[in-house]
């Protein structure tokens, strides 16, 4: 009978340290099979709700390898976060009502679930407190999320799914949203499609550049992440991307941070933070005429 594996987790925030915690966990559970895995959460007095997406991806893979995952000693605060966004429902706990309507539920999708994903986004952004933002910003935000989902569908080659979760912080006036996949990662995609062997954080940087694309077939690509970057720069929000051992961040002032994680994430995560107090119109300065389009 396999022995129980005990892993203690510290607080997990949307930063390099938070992702380091997650890849350490991924490394610990990577080769386990048929093992009871107990996650001791007594030291985790905070977990950013959006980080449930990459955490859920890692644990989904562990469950797929027939391990039995359970959370133990959850602090009241983290238990509440995990129950409100539905994360703990996957691990044998009851769901809690989100009385303020500020959570974007933890959810897993298959790559063919585009419509289901659309319904999920609509459900969380219509008739809810999320958020008090301008119509132009809401539209850009939705588009960004859809671009991210499409990107995961087109490029990740994930067979185990796509995981999403988010949270609205009314007082801080921002929304955090993360999307994680269990695919081959950006650096491997670059090797496979372009023969380009870059360190993982440089591979992310390459993918974030405009007009760079690994697409080779009849459908062009290469705009989605660039559009996302531009929008978040104007919005003074943040983007973090983690793929394999690469960590890449565009900070609120536009600076780029690139680092190497100690172990690989088993896929790709993109985490965005949107400033909801933004009143930019997002109408581009260059006006286009339909007759000059093609």
């Amino acid at each position: 009978m396999p022995t129980r594996v005990d892993i203690s987790l510290p607080p997990i925030r949307s930063d390099f340290q938070g992702f380091t915690t997650l890849v350490n966990l991924a490394e610990r559970v990577n080769s386990l099979e048929y093992s009871p895995i107990a996650l001791d959460m007594s030291a985790a007095n905070w977990v950013d709700a959006n980080m449930c997406a990459p955490l859920g991806a890692i644990l989904y893979r562990a469950s797929h390898q027939l391990n039995m995952v359970r959370f133990e000693h959850l602090t009241e605060r983290v238990q509440k976060i995990f129950q409100k966004n539905g994360f703990l429902s996957f691990y044998g706990h009851a769901k809690k009502v989100d009385e303020w309507g500020t959570t974007i539920q933890y959810q897993s999708f298959e790559t063919k679930d585009d419509r289901f994903f659309g319904a999920y986004i609509e459900q969380h952004f219509k008739n809810k407190a999320i958020p008090e933002m301008s119509e132009a910003l809401r539209k850009k935000f939705w588009e960004s999320i859809f671009e991210l989902f499409s990107n995961a569908v087109i490029h990740s080659k994930t067979e185990l799914g796509i995981f999403t979760c988010g949270q609205y912080f009314p007082n801080k006036k921002h929304i955090d949203f993360a999307i994680a996949d269990l695919g081959i990662g950006i650096s491997q995609t670059l090797i496979d499609k372009k023969g380009l062997n870059l360190p993982p954080e440089e591979a992310i940087d390459w993918a974030m550049e405009g007009r760079n694309t690994t697409k080779t077939g009849s459908i062009p690509g290469g705009l989605g992440l660039k559009l996302l970057r531009e929008f978040i720069r104007l919005n003074r929000g943040r983007i973090q991307a983690v793929s394999f051992t690469g960590y890449w961040e565009q900070c609120a002032d536009g600076t780029i941070v690139k680092k190497t994680l100690p172990y690989p994430f088993p896929g790709t995560v993109v985490n965005i933070e949107i400033n909801t107090a933004d009143t930019n119109s997002y109408i581009l300065s260059t006006e286009h005429k339909p007759e000059d389009l093609f």
Binding site: S150, G217, S218, I219, Y282
Partner: protein
């Protein structure tokens, strides 16, 4: 009989969320057929609420791998499109034109069309 036909994107996709590449492919196939049949195509974006570059790349960007730029300029038009969606579409088209300048890409598309592509 008029040789201009209007294709309503909302009707083809069946939703106001025009975000998935697969849905873009459905739009592409209809435009491609109509252009092959010698029609002029007017694309209506009425009731479309969300668009992505992934959708537009499949629906429209892809056309530049199959038809000449001049032909598309002459026979394709858009209507009922919002200003910011028009700006996005313009970028998709400019990116597609750039993408299909590469002869290797055109060769890959040809192979794909012949069914001997491995993707």
């Amino acid at each position: 009989m008029s040789d201009i036909i209007t294709l309503r994107i909302y009707e083809i996709v069946g939703s106001s969320l025009c975000v998935a590449s697969q849905d873009g492919q459905k739009v592409f196939e209809q435009i491609q057929q109509a252009l092959k049949d010698g029609k002029n195509v007017r694309l209506s974006f009425q009731n479309v609420e969300s668009l992505t570059s992934a959708f537009l790349n499949a629906a429209i960007g892809q056309l530049y791998g199959f038809f000449d730029n001049d032909l598309l300029k002459e026979r394709l038009s858009v209507t009922n499109i919002e200003k910011d969606d028009l700006a996005l579409l313009k970028r998709v088209i400019d990116t597609a034109k750039q993408y299909f300048k590469d002869p290797a890409v055109i060769e890959a598309v040809r192979r794909e069309a012949m069914g001997d592509d491995d993707e």
